[in-house]
Structures are given as C-alpha cells and as structure tokens.
Symmetry: C2
Subunit: 313 residues, 2 copies
C-alpha cells in the first residue's frame, strides 16, 4: 500500500546538505548553490517501451536507468547534478517489492553522483510500470552547453563507441556527468547533445538547431563491440545491418556529441578525462543536412536514423 | 508523431524572463530568484485512476488538473510558483489532438500564475494516458510551511468548503497559491497541508507529522453544495453517506488546512483573502489522533478517511 511503502521509504532517504525540507512534506525545499543557474530536465520510462521487466531487467536496473538518462541530459548541458524527484505508477499486483527495487537502483546512483533524493509521488493502477524522474542541476550563468551553437569548422567529437546498447548496456547507462564538467572546465565546447535516440538522429537534431550541417567521416565512427555482436548474430543475412548501421542508429548509448573548435577537439582526444575514449567523427559545415564520406571520398546524404515515439496525428 | 508534436509545441511556448535556456534543448536553464530557496514537487495523473477521458473530461481539463494539483502543493508550502516541466505518455491511437489539448489546459493555467513552461518529455505507447508534472517554486529561507510544526493550542483552519469534488470540481482545481502567499505575508502559520486525499486523512497526516492530535468540531466543517448533492442523489438510502461524510473523506478539494495561533486564525476568518471562505474547524491537542466533537459535546475518535493508492505488499 502507498502508505506502507512511503513509511518504508522515508527513513531510507539519506539527509543531504542541499535539503532544507526533505521528502515527506507537500514539496521539498532545496538550498540552491549561490551564483548558479538551475538546470531542469524530465524523462519518463514505460514498461514495454523503454524496458521489459524480467530476469535480464530487474526493478533495480530500471531505477538506475530512470535516473541515469536524466543525469545524461544534465551532462549534455555541462550541469552539475543537484537533486531529483521521482514519480511512479506501480502495477497493483506487484507493488511493494517492485517499488523497493526501483528505489535501490535510484539511490545507489544518486549516492554515486551526490544527488539529493528530494521527493516523489507514488501511484498504483492496473497498468504497467511507469517511472518519471525530474533532475535538477546547476551551472554558472551563461555556461550551459546548448545544442544550437555548433559552427561551421567545428569538429564533432563523440565521447565513446556506439551501437548495440539493447544487448544490455541500455540498462547500465553511465551518465557522462564527471567527464562533461571536466571538459567544460578546460576546453571550449560550442554545442552538445546526448545520444539517446541514435547517433545520426541526435547529430541531425544538433545540426538543425544550429542551422548547420555535418560531414561525417564514417570510418572514424567508433563502433561498440555490442554493435558487432548484434550484426553478426542476426539470423537473416539478407537484411543484415552492419555494425556501423547499429552505431549510427541504435540509440541509448548515452555518450555525448560535442561540437568543438578543432584545437580543443584534438586536445580532448589526446588527453581525455579518465575512462573516456573520445573520437572525432566529422566536421560541421554551413550546408544543412548530414553527409557521409568514407575511404572512397564520395560524399553522399546520410539519412538520420533512430528511435522516435510514434503516435497518430 | 513525437517530432511533429514537438515542432507544433515549441513555438507555442511563450518566452519567459526566468528562462535562460528555454524548452527544446537537453534540459532547460532557469534564472532562480535571488535569496530564495527552491521548492520542488511532482504529481503523476493516470487515466482511469485520476480521470476518465470523455465528454465530461476533456484533454484540456486534464492538462489544467495536472498542473493545478502541483501548484496546490506549492501553495501548501507558501511557495511562489516559478516553472514546470511536463512528461506525458500518450496512447498511440489518440496522440496529437490529445497532446495539444493537454498543452492548452497547462498553458492557460501557467499564464494565470506566471509560471514558465520549461520543458518536458513526450512518449507514446499502447496504454492509457499518463501525465507527470514537476513544479518548481521559491520561498525565502526558513519560511516554507511544513506539515510537521502544528502545536497544541493551534486552531485548524480550512480555506473553503469540502466534499463532492467528483461531480466536476476535481477537474477545475483552483490552487490556493495567491491566498497562501497573502496569508504568509501577514499572519503566522505553524503548519499546512493541501487536501488532496480527504480532509480527515490529510489532517491526520499533519497531526502524525507534528506528533500531535486534533479535536474536530464537526458542525464547523464547511460542507460544499456538491457534497449535499452527492449525498442526496445516492440511490441506496440504507448506505447513504451524509454530506459531512463526503466533506471529511472525498478528497481532491485542494483547499488548504492551516494550523495557526488562535489570534491569527481568527484574523484570517474575519479578514480573508479575496475569494476565500476560511473556517476554523478544530483545535490541535497534545494527544495523538483525531477526535470529533459535536453539539452533544461527546468526544469520540474520528477515523481518518480518504483516498490511498492500493497495491500488494
């Protein structure tokens, strides 16, 4: 029951210096850091679309993912995570143990990034699990990375290999928060976006927002070993997608795409933050659209591909 | 489709001085007001539990309600509304027109309270509509109303008549934000909570949080005319709930319960904010629990009643 779960939960929420009024009241009260802007983002995950609960996808992993995708959005703004609130709608038949598992996944990641668990809303119904996390971060005035400020001549850097996340990586999202803050502290980034829906789709979004285009050097796109496995294990060789196809379109990589002046991009690649394997994959051009080049040097349009929620008009 | 809806939506989101980076990026960036704390709350509404779409419940009304219940939580903290983010999961078959209706309801209420629409997340699935709104407000340091600070001797004030909200009022929620700010500016309030789940249940929550109890003067409880209608129109006279039963247990009134020193309570009742009809309904006592008194003066336990989300343990 809601009341029992909340009773279980409240003493498990750690005190945090950022909380003037903790969870358990009508709202939480946060002490915002001085001289910084407030950054806010929300992501809702639904059972059957974003995850399928089962032996390979535990409630704890869903809790982790629900917070991690929001922290990834903060990383894409160069924002420091501060606090989160969580709303869930639980299937009535599987309530309390599911809710506790979700909390464990959320709490472990929140601890790792020193994020205050500030509150939430617990509901129940006869439908599947829905979880919506709102994350609050902070950034100095005027310093947030935008997706709209890429400039012709910038190089595009991706912070790690992409593709095949469905093999399990999409549940073990490692948000690039620390790397983003380190990069923001020592290098110039003109534009940024995180790869949630597909490298090529999210890159095209950045280019559209910036009123520019991008020439992608296909052989330079870092391909995750999961993309190789997914391509190899497809039964039908006739319609087989290559590892590169997976890297360009699969999504849920939660790496960052950064548009940077060439010197800064090179510095990032030569001296990356710990654990990061960034690669230059292309160059911003004035002509709108995505274009692919490869060893044959023939330039051709690169159709953006990735995940879009479909509903009727 | 998600992309089409977002394209429709973004130009309709009004610019707001509080937004350094508006909706449309990975996250929004807010300019927080100086010298104030950040107040944050989230509420998720689900089709079939919180509303049933149909001729008497339009998408626009659902949008209004989803924001209004969050503003009511801010009112219960004496917080000034600042900004909101909205996550929705749309039934695939009824997407775009539904999404546009939701937005119209949200936007009209946001305009009324000068709240910045800062961003959101649009999803689709084969399930019913889910909408989760996160509201951000602000309050001077140490000035947020808590639910835990009611003291024996305080009088309990309810800001308006209760009961029968299901007849339609639950969709036309008028959050008490302006009244709360006016009251906070001129009177002492020790504790506050909004009536979302039922007057007696929310009152008992305030008392539990405060380590106190309350003696409720039943004849003083203001009964909404909807409660009278609901009681009268019940077919089975044998199990009929009285108007007072409805006022004590129905919920979704979104009036405030305030614990105030007696002099301040009397001042509020004699000189209320415009449009408010507050009434003193009881007194805080040291003994835990809720107790009812009436014209017979016999004191008896008053079981808290209201709406609780049920799920299995």
């Amino acid at each position: 029951m809601e009341t029992d779960f909340v009773k279980w939960l409240l003493p498990r929420l750690p005190a945090h210096p950022r909380l003037e009024v903790p969870a358990g009241d009508d709202a939480a009260v946060l002490r915002p850091p001085a001289m910084r802007r407030t950054v806010i983002t929300v992501d809702m995950l639904t059972e059957g679309v974003d995850f399928i609960l089962g032996p390979d996808c535990t409630p704890r992993q869903v809790g982790h993912k629900a917070l991690a995708v929001n922290l990834s959005d903060l990383a894409a703004m160069a924002a420091r995570p501060e606090a989160v609130v969580v709303a869930v709608c639980l299937p009535r038949s599987a309530g309390a143990s599911l809710a506790e598992g979700l909390h464990e996944g959320l709490a472990a990641l929140a601890l790792e990034f020193d994020v205050a668990l500030a509150g939430g809303d617990t509901n129940a119904w006869d439908g599947p699990l829905v979880i919506s996390v709102t994350a609050v971060g902070s950034v100095p005035p005027g310093q947030a990375w935008r997706r709209s400020e890429a400039r012709p001549g910038d190089l595009i850097v991706v912070t790690g290999p992409c593709g095949g996340s469905l093999l399990g990586r999409h549940l073990r999202v490692q948000p690039r928060c620390r790397a983003a803050l380190e990069i923001a502290g020592r290098l110039t980034v003109h534009a940024a976006i995180d790869i949630s829906d597909g490298l090529s789709l999210d890159l095209s979004r950045m280019m559209t927002a910036s009123g520019a285009g991008c020439q992608v050097d296909l052989p330079a796109v870092p391909i995750h070993e999961d993309a190789v496995r997914m391509s190899r294990d497809q039964p039908d060789a006739g319609s087989r997608r290559t590892p590169l196809d997976h890297a360009l379109a699969d999504g849920e990589d939660f790496e960052l795409l950064l548009a940077m002046p060439p010197d800064d991009a090179q510095r990032l690649v030569c001296d990356p933050p710990a654990g990061l394997s960034p690669a230059v994959i292309g160059e911003v051009i004035a002509e709108p659209g995505l274009f692919a080049t490869d060893s044959t040097a023939a330039r051709r349009p690169l159709p953006p591909q990735g995940f879009i929620h479909e509903f009727d008009g």
